[in-house]
Symmetry: C2
Subunit: 315 residues, 2 copies
């Protein structure tokens, strides 16, 4: 059987924070990122591609707000917004990847799945909402929306007196389409899935799949599908070539290969950025703990030279 | 090999014109529609489900307009909006169908594909834009948008002095994922695909897949994938139990079974509503002309009683 890799594209692989995010910018970024996957595909790896959706779903939520204000169009709940973003981003990745494959003379099919990911409705994350999403409101607007829609708010650290909706970020447990994804990758088809971490759903007491107003970390969801399908390698692409201890401090130290125990120790010691690098390390630990050979955190442009990147292994 | 059916859900299967389209309404409509597919699934048919996206992509376009006006968020092009709508609607159909299958004790996988459909960039439709999409503007706004974005406008028949963007509705030629869809349905997996007619793309001179600012008729796209995969039957679900000649006139005549030649003759004679029934008849003709056994136009609630519906056959 061929090696299977899961490649998780960071948000900035598609829409960079310093851009307004026109379609031209998103297409160029996507193409530049995907170009780096070609050597791996040429080597014959089977591949799952996942992607972030932070800026895009943020825009979709803002447009929902604006559409209701200006035109009275009913807002869609968060799960539908995430699904929308999987459609738009997945389509763009698939189309551009098809072109790159053709240019490189590679005959491979690509398919994009709209993917639901199961979370536990009793996950602690639902009693401690941490993930800020959508528009920055003032206090009065936030209180109105709380009454109207039951949304929860926290102050926005980026502004003096802004409030943002907060939602849970529960741990992904299982990808609903995992058996289908397995069949597809085993047939050599590149599968784009768990975009934005997947559409969060939970299983209710009657065994029904119900929508969950939450967002799932896309790196952790990637590690879950990777582990379930016994993938060999997980690549989490971000904007630094390595993970560092004491990042941007005088005693900054580049990590090359660390094992699960070391990674867990550093994590407990708070050596990584909370909102940024810690979840990536957790995803890598989850992957190697559940059968993955190697998880790598690096920049997309460093993929061709395999000496780069922080590698996390079991032992 | 099991029989394969393609079921095309009408726009009102999900969001009815007389509703504001809250998520609760969309979910209830979707559930009621899908319930009617259960007997067919129990009979052992393999199944492809497609769906309209008119009201939803209309809302997405309006939200794009509102988001740019209120918050300066870059608007996404039409192809991305269609892809977004495939994500949101496909997710909802898949989740609700999973629940129905479980309640009926049916063990079947369901998968939703984000689907690109190839059109001919030289299709006559691009020189005669007919499909009205998005917001109704006044004349000044329309002229501004024409200058700014190159959009074309026509007056809106629904208003006194409103203008709406018009886009092409080219004929679908080929579904990019047809081989993957074929494999999936042959494994008994229900595939939700060509939502909203598919994301329109064309193949440029360098053989690249390029986005097309157009919309594709979802019934015709359903007939194209049905014919390509040698499906046995195509069901186009709408809001009438039969197709009629002289619809709503004193001499109205219900059509039960007609062959391709009769259908073509009636179509030429303008016996069907231009914007509504004619494209459905064309889709049925295309299906039986290209190998399909039978195309049926009827209401979802009439599916269980197979005597209902207008059946179009080759001879």
């Amino acid at each position: 059987m061929k090696k299977l890799v899961v490649v998780a594209l960071g948000g900035n692989a598609i829409l960079r924070g310093d851009e307004i995010g026109t379609i031209e910018q998103q297409e160029e970024n996507t193409r530049n990122t995907l170009e780096n996957l070609i050597p791996m595909i040429k080597e014959g790896y089977n591949m799952i591609i996942s992607h972030g959706n932070g800026p895009q779903v943020g825009n979709i939520l803002m447009r929902n707000d604006a559409g209701e204000q200006l035109y009275g169009i009913a807002q869609m709940p968060l799960d539908v917004c995430v699904a929308d973003s999987q459609g738009g981003i997945g389509y763009m990745i698939e189309r551009i990847l098809r072109n790159l494959l053709r240019e490189h003379g590679i005959e491979k099919e690509v398919v994009t799945l709209v993917t639901q990911v199961v979370v536990d409705k009793n996950d602690n994350a639902f009693s401690n909402l941490t993930k800020r999403v959508g528009k920055i409101y003032n206090k009065e607007q936030a209180e109105n929306l709380k009454k109207l829609k039951g949304w929860q708010f926290k102050t926005s650290p980026k502004t003096k007196d802004g409030w943002r909706r907060v939602v849970a970020s529960p741990k992904p447990i299982r990808v609903l389409n995992e058996q289908v994804i397995n069949r597809l990758v085993n047939q050599g088809i590149i599968v784009i899935t768990v975009g934005g971490g997947g559409v969060p759903v939970y299983i209710d007491d009657k065994n029904s799949v119900r929508p969950s107003e939450a967002v799932i970390d896309k790196d952790f969801a990637s590690s879950v599908i990777g582990a379930a399908l016994k993938a060999d390698e997980l690549y989490i692409l971000t904007d630094v070539p390595y993970v560092y201890l004491n990042y941007k401090k005088p005693n900054q130290q580049q990590l090359e290969t660390i094992n699960k125990n070391e990674a867990e120790k550093y994590l407990e010691q708070g050596m990584f950025g909370e909102g940024n690098m810690s979840p990536k390390i957790s995803a890598c630990i989850n992957f190697v703990k559940n059968g993955g050979n190697k998880a790598v955190i690096t920049e997309a442009t460093k993929l061709t030279d395999k000496t780069y990147g922080t590698k996390i292994v079991l032992e």
